[in-house]
Structure formats: structure tokens, C-alpha cells
Symmetry: C2
């Protein structure tokens, strides 16, 4: 596998390729060209080929790409076969919804424990995952190698919990709190899921669209 630095944009497209390839494979399609795949995702064929060529040669000239083997290559690039471990911190509504709905194992990640501060929850199991007390987090981290922490705590404790996680060597934080955790100093990886950012961008485009429609309508009246 090539080892040049791959741009962020490319990485963000990989999961989309993966999802589309899964769909194709479910529909019984076993080969696809860069042009077809690009069309399905709104990309040019050049871009598709360039993206894959960051990592190696996955296609066959004159034929295209084998759906299943391309899918496996991408899954490997994304680290889905590495058996990453995760813990979830904060079994509130979002935390519970994630435990209940999100199938971590589908993406190669093993959710091994959850943590909360509420006495009623501590010691119980939810969806097969044991819920520990928050005060045992540090100890747990020193005894277990955890790759990813799913952060679903209230805004107010986000920063202090983050400090514990980074101090104890968690590689990455999947941040569901509405707090900007990215600090220049820290080496911990942070992936933000900011619902509000997502809604606000959408809101921008809706506003733009409606303004355009209104402008068009007023031109037509004249």
C-alpha cells in the first residue's frame, strides 16, 4: 500500500464508496467502472480513480473494479479489520440511543464498556454492555487498551472527561457533545458529530434556495 499522505477529502469519501459498494453487492452486481460508481455518488470518474490510486491498484484495465474485492480493500484501509475497542461515556439519551441503534460491530468496532455517574445505572447491563461508575474510568483505562471513546456526556463535563481520556492514552474521541474539543496541544484524535452544525448548514442552503425562488418570482412579476 502506498504511503503518501492522503488528503482529508479522500478519507471522507471512502465511507461513501464503502456504503455504495455494499448496496451494489447486495443487488448482486459484481463489477463496476469508475464512471458508473462516480455517477452513483455524484463524482467524476477521474476523481474515483485518483482516490483509489492513493492506496494502490484495485482495478483491472478494460474491465473495471470487482465490487466485493474493492469493498474489502476499502474496509481494510478504513481499519475495519483491526478490532478497535471503544467505550461509551455518558448513558443519557444520546448515549442510550447510540447503544441501542448503532451497530458498532458492523463497522469493525467493539463496544466493550459504558460509563455513567448515575447510581441507578451503575452495575447494570444495557444491550449486552456493562455500565461502570464514572469514578472507575481512570482505573479501567489503565487496565484496558481502548482505542476510541464515544463521548455522550453533558456539555458541562465534556472538557474534564476529555482530559482524563487523553491523559490515559485513549487514541481517539468520537465527540457527540456540542463543544469544540479540538485543541492544538492535544495529540488525541477528535471526530465531531455536531448535529447543530449540520442543521445550520442545511438551514443556510434552505434560506439561499428560498431567496433565489423569491428573487425569480419578483423578476417574473415585473
Amino acid at each position: 500500500m502506498k504511503q503518501v499522505k492522503v488528503s482529508n477529502n479522500v478519507i471522507r469519501r471512502l465511507p461513501r464508496y464503502l456504503r455504495k459498494l455494499d448496496e451494489l453487492s447486495e443487488s448482486g452486481i459484481d463489477k463496476i467502472s469508475s464512471r458508473q460508481l462516480g455517477e452513483l455518488l455524484g463524482l467524476t470518474s477521474s476523481q474515483v480513480r485518483q482516490d483509489f490510486n492513493c492506496f494502490g491498484e484495485f482495478g483491472q484495465q478494460g474491465y473495471g473494479y470487482n465490487v466485493v474485492s474493492l469493498r474489502e480493500q476499502i474496509a481494510g484501509i478504513l481499519g475495519m479489520d483491526r478490532g478497535f475497542t471503544a467505550i461509551l461515556i455518558g448513558v443519557g439519551n444520546i448515549g442510550r440511543a447510540m447503544m441501542e441503534n448503532f451497530c458498532f460491530s458492523d463497522w469493525g468496532v467493539q463496544l466493550v464498556a459504558a460509563f455513567d455517574i448515575k447510581p441507578a445505572l451503575i452495575g447494570t447491563e444495557y444491550k449486552g454492555v456493562h455500565i461502570h461508575g464514572m469514578d472507575t474510568l481512570e482505573q479501567y483505562l489503565s487496565e484496558n487498551k481502548i482505542d476510541i471513546a464515544v463521548l455522550t456526556v453533558p456539555k458541562t463535563v465534556a472538557v474534564s472527561v476529555t482530559r482524563t481520556l487523553t491523559d490515559r492514552g485513549v487514541d481517539a474521541i468520537w465527540n457527540f457533545t456540542n463543544v469544540e474539543l479540538t485543541e492544538p496541544s492535544s495529540t488525541t484524535l477528535v471526530e465531531n458529530v455536531h448535529f447543530s452544525d449540520s442543521l445550520l448548514s442545511l438551514s443556510y442552503f434552505v434560506a439561499e434556495r428560498q431567496d433565489e425562488a423569491a428573487a425569480k418570482a419578483s423578476r417574473e412579476v415585473k
Copy 2:
């Protein structure tokens, strides 16, 4: 306000500025320079100024930007003052978690109704929002102007519900299903919240980081 086409990257940064400005304003800070704001968000001062200049002149030379008024400008650009209406479709776990946790009104959006197919839910209220039967969706949409549909239905019905929404003139879909809805043909705006894409990108970076650490370690042994 200027009306050149603003790039997607700029739009995606606006909510981050907004969040940081809210934080600053809560801390009682009333002015900020492009350099300071950039540092807080990991951007250059040039980029910050360029971003704002897409929309107008919000600063004062020699002084910087007034936190509160800049915040208001950005809120306006994002359409937060337009009173957009939203409905939520699919009151399952994710849908319920959103209704319970996500404060739509904080972002200028009014959640006016929810829809589900489950008889036990229909006619009830959840967090002050009435839950209608799915079979009344078309009628509801023809009687009410809805800007945004929050799509939290199971994967299997995502596409058919989307058709109803687009046919009935909903401007935008906030898509929480793990289905690629973006179709070249449709004019409806789609904003995807793909948890799995987010986790997989993070997983990629964790894998990369661990590979680098391993490579470094093996070099040191030699």
C-alpha cells in the same frame, strides 16, 4: 449582502464560528480579532477574514470584530431568524432521542409535528410535539408549509418516504438514515448525518496513527 456563490467549505465553517462566538460572549468577551478567532478554531487569520468578506464587512479596522454583532450577522446568514418549520418522521430510538435532546428552537427551527406508523404512538404527544399517523403525512404537507423534514425512519422505507416529501414540496431533508439519498434528479436539499461515515473516518485516522507509532517503534529497536 454580497451575492457571489459562497463555497461549501465556508458554509461549513460558519456554524463553528457561531459556536465559538457564543462561548466568547458567555465569557463576557466583547471584541475579538481575526487572528484570535482563527487560533481558537485552528484557522489562519486570512481565512477568517476571507470567510466573513463573502458576506460583507463586519469588522472595524484597527479594532477587530464585536463578538455579539458578528454572532448576529452569522446567525442571520445561516437563516436562524427565518422561523423555518420542521417535521420529524419516524419516532423510533433516534427520532425520540432527537426530540428529547436536540433543542431545535435554539437554532431557529420550529419542530411542529412528528409522524410514525405505530398505532400506540399516534395521537400522543412527545416533548410537546403531536405524533401523527404516517398515512396522514401527504395531507399534512399539502395543508402546511414545511421547510425541513427530519428523516429518522428505518432504512427500508427511507426512499419511499423521501419520494413523498419531495413530491409534496419539502425543501430539505435532514437525513439520519444510513442511505445515500442524494439523487442528481431531485431538487430537494439533503443533509446527511451518517454516523458510520464519521466513525469510519475516525477509524482510518486511528489506524494510520497506530501504524506510524508501530513503524517508529520498530525503527528504534534496530
